[in-house]
Symmetry: C2
Amino acid sequence: MTQQQPMALPPYHDVVHAQWVDYNGHMRDAFYMLVFSYATDALLDFIGLDAAARTARKRSVYTLEAHLLYLHETRQGARLRVDTRLIAYDAKRLHLYLEMFADPHSAPVAVSEQMLLHVDTRGPRAVAFDSDVNQRLEALATAAAVLPPPAHAGRVIGLARK
Amino acid sequence: MTQQQPMALPPYHDVVHAQWVDYNGHMRDAFYMLVFSYATDALLDFIGLDAAARTARKRSVYTLEAHLLYLHETRQGARLRVDTRLIAYDAKRLHLYLEMFADPHSAPVAVSEQMLLHVDTRGPRAVAFDSDVNQRLEALATAAAVLPPPAHAGRVIGLARK
């Protein structure tokens, strides 16, 4: 296969909505995951698995696993940016690393690591990516390969690791 | 300290709401986290850190980290049950393991592992649990200690581990 030119995914932008704020006055933990979920949708659109293609091709993408690390509180109205990178992929799976930024912090306010599975919705059953999608994945992976290593990937939860 | 009698947390119950369903006809990944977040709130109420106590004592609990493993799809209207157990705790932190069940599956449809931090909201800064809360934590941990080991704790995300 021809080496794909690097292709960077544009950041996903959102804002902390009033209904996402909990009793602390901060965005509730689950709504960080919702923003990451929307950012993942944007990646699917970008690689050619948008809603129209999913319907036409009988394809979808399921989340197998998601890890979230919370680094700073964010308040209602804060503008959010999510940078999503493809850490790795195989014939049917995507391993993503997502960083969420919010004013006034220069470092991420949260990061997420996710594993997604490509499925044929007629099963549903796991199925290999189509070749056009695979080419875009290769281009995304090429772009991600030059970035500094993810600061918070591969984490295990446990008290002993304080 | 006197050994506390085991005290089991009642399950948390919910239902898959229409606005939680995504393009697949399944509950979106982020709303599993919302249900787990509500189940965690129920645990906080149970140990004496309900809304009134949080306000009166200037205390709160922040989520430091959350890991989610998705095992089965769930559809709109499905009745959900979350069993929450305290795996471990120290002076300021809780390590929880939550299992979500939904008809018609006898095994969990999702599990989550979480680390929470007890804070004094006047900082905010990490602070030790008050003694009455600590006694309830001891009672919960005693109840959890007799359960079978968590089936899906300590996970790392990665393609090589297929």
